[in-house]
Subunit: 383 residues, 2 copies
């Protein structure tokens, strides 16, 4: 019997049936009062999850498009930025900046580590001529299951001219993030992770300081031109400037209602609880986290593959035999780790089910598992 | 009683229930065999509607994103292009090219006219040094209801080094377009018009000549980088490079199946028949087309507003009282025309219904209408 696939992946994540029902609706036109009402509600709720007073722009693109949009709207060729990379997506942000002619100073750490905020402070302190205009950083790095301390980095840039540009694609709506209070200047996220909607939308919030930078940016842009999107927000019937991904916006509006109903604090607490339970299950299996526990992500847990076990086979068994998707490592970590996502529309029983299947699959692959050992540990941690 | 809105608009257009059912499905992951099968089917059917042997790239963006992607992938700063504009979307293509530092020679005609192919020929003939690297042109201009003769323009560039870049956003899948046979080098379209899917996807086809230009292009690109998308197509599990708009791709795959089932020739014939019936209805109302009949679009019909009638009110009445959306004019044509779309998932009875409501609404606004006069004309034309 084939069951609906349970995605315990870093994204896309499962979509709540309530949100899927919205997707089923006939399309509406985007230059109508009906759409405007949906857009206004979406905008209001996006501000809420971003924890910002400023408008949040809605782009029809994947999250990577939102990262590119941030770069081309904030900077001019030759501008210097500090790109902090703790994994694949941090590398991507640095690559985007390089592609558009920025002078990229890269602070990279070993995969599995978070950035040491003191290292960032030191680099900024040594930059006496204020060459570094901005920091680009990933909040939650899905490739390594590591969360960076964005609040602490925010303290370094908050009352300075420097901008803090945060890739919060996999974190926003799952990990605490207070855009305005923490002094984050640009926050980019996507629809398909903690925000529980289908992929296809990127969201970008900007501080007043970031909007000033937009005014001075000289990189060419058309589709990504934030000023056009902002103008649209101010003028009824012109948001966004190009035909928006209407259906996904309607779905996202519904998913954000669910987040508000659950309560943002409760959503964060659920993600934390699931993560700690995952860690307990991993430990009970005699396995090790890739990162140190104190920086291990509440969105996705990266686990070292047991010695001598073909982890790709384990992941495949979970998928084909038990209809549960977890993922392997990317780039250098391929074959060396597996990753369990617990983000968005996921609860404790999803996790228990995942560990039950993982026990079977690990056992099939030759790893010695006492049945129920990790399931029990997860259950206890969730109790 | 409020009925579901009937969109007789240039896009988004109505989505077939079969396609909406697909949207209701739970999300699947994009790095799976299941998704690969959907993607391969989509790719095959896109090649079919594009009438090309080459891959068609799938971008998570609106159609405008596809236009920008074409520009940044084909050209280098300072390259000269001839931008043909017969309306709002032709202007947009020229603006995008200017934004990215191209030297844009613009051939603009009065709104409501198609480009005279001899004028294009003359400009190319005079360009003895082959400065003009490419022509940018709109196939079907929705703002004015005009179709350009792309096949004829193709003959001017086919066996030359020049590229022909076609915005077929509102035409592809509704108007005949033979990418390879006509020598079109780049064809851009979107999901939400004749292709009967929700907005959020752009599709770009490239000829071998266009792929050569991509190799030489120096404009920076990351999200739009065609080479990455092409690489993804060649390598299982890496298409597309960034999280795609999975749900809309599944919907588009379903909608393309419907087009294949109806038969491309039949789809073209239906669009033509609906357009000619619309023209008959307009004439029966004593109204005039904006363009000459021989260039009037089979996708959308632009009609001059009757003297002394508040056409915005007529459009509003259709929308609020009869739940049918037609649209007004853009920019300089605001208040001067109205436009009836007959594109995508639309049949004769939709059109008859629209004319019945239009008769009421025009009459309400003070225009003398003998009830049934246009409806009868439309019926006859459709018979």
């Amino acid at each position: 019997m084939e069951k609906e696939k349970l995605l315990m992946t870093p994204g896309p994540t499962m979509i709540p049936p309530r949100v899927l029902e919205v997707m089923r609706r006939q399309i509406i036109h985007h230059r109508t009062k009906e759409f405007e009402a949906i857009f206004d509600g979406l905008e209001e709720d996006l501000k809420f999850v971003f924890q910002t007073k400023n408008p949040v722009l809605v782009l029809a693109s994947s999250g990577t498009g939102g990262m590119e949009a941030a770069v081309v709207n904030l900077f001019s060729p030759g501008d210097t930025v500090l790109a902090i990379s703790v994994g694949n997506f941090g590398d991507r942000f640095a690559d985007i900046a390089k592609t558009f002619g920025l002078n990229v100073k890269k602070l990279a750490v070993n995969w599995g580590e978070a950035v040491n905020v003191n290292d960032v402070k030191k680099i900024l302190d040594e930059d006496v001529d204020n060459e570094i205009k901005a920091i680009l950083v990933t909040h939650n790095e899905t490739s390594t299951g590591v969360t960076n301390d964005i609040e602490a980095i925010g303290k370094l840039t908050k009352d300075t001219k420097r901008l803090l540009v945060v890739d919060a694609i996999s974190s926003l709506g799952g990990l605490e993030l207070q855009m305005d209070n923490w002094g984050l200047d640009v926050v980019v996220t996507g629809s398909q992770k903690a925000l529980m909607a289908p992929p296809g939308l990127a969201f970008v919030g900007l501080s007043d300081k970031a909007w000033d930078a937009v005014e001075n940016s000289k990189l060419p842009k058309f589709y990504w031109d934030f000023k056009k999107y902002k103008k649209g927000l101010m003028k009824a019937g012109e948001n966004p400037p190009y035909t928006p991904a209407i259906t996904i916006m309607m779905a996202q509006a519904e998913a954000l209602k669910m987040i508000k109903e659950e309560g943002l604090e409760n959503v964060y607490a659920r993600h934390k609880k699931l993560a700690l339970a995952t860690q307990a299950g991993v430990k009970a299996l005699g396995l090790e986290l890739l990162p140190n526990q104190d920086v291990s992500s509440y969105i996705i847990t990266a686990v070292k593959a047991p010695e001598g076990i073909d982890i790709a086979k384990v992941i495949k068994t979970l998928n084909l035999k038990y209809d549960i998707m977890i993922t392997g490592g990317q780039k250098d970590l391929k074959g060396k780790i597996f990753r369990i996502g617990h983000c968005g529309y996921t609860d404790g029983l999803d996790l228990i089910k995942t560990f039950a299947a993982l026990e079977y699959a690990l056992s099939d692959a030759g790893y010695k598992v006492e049945m129920g050992v990790s399931v029990g540990a997860v259950q206890k941690a969730l109790q």
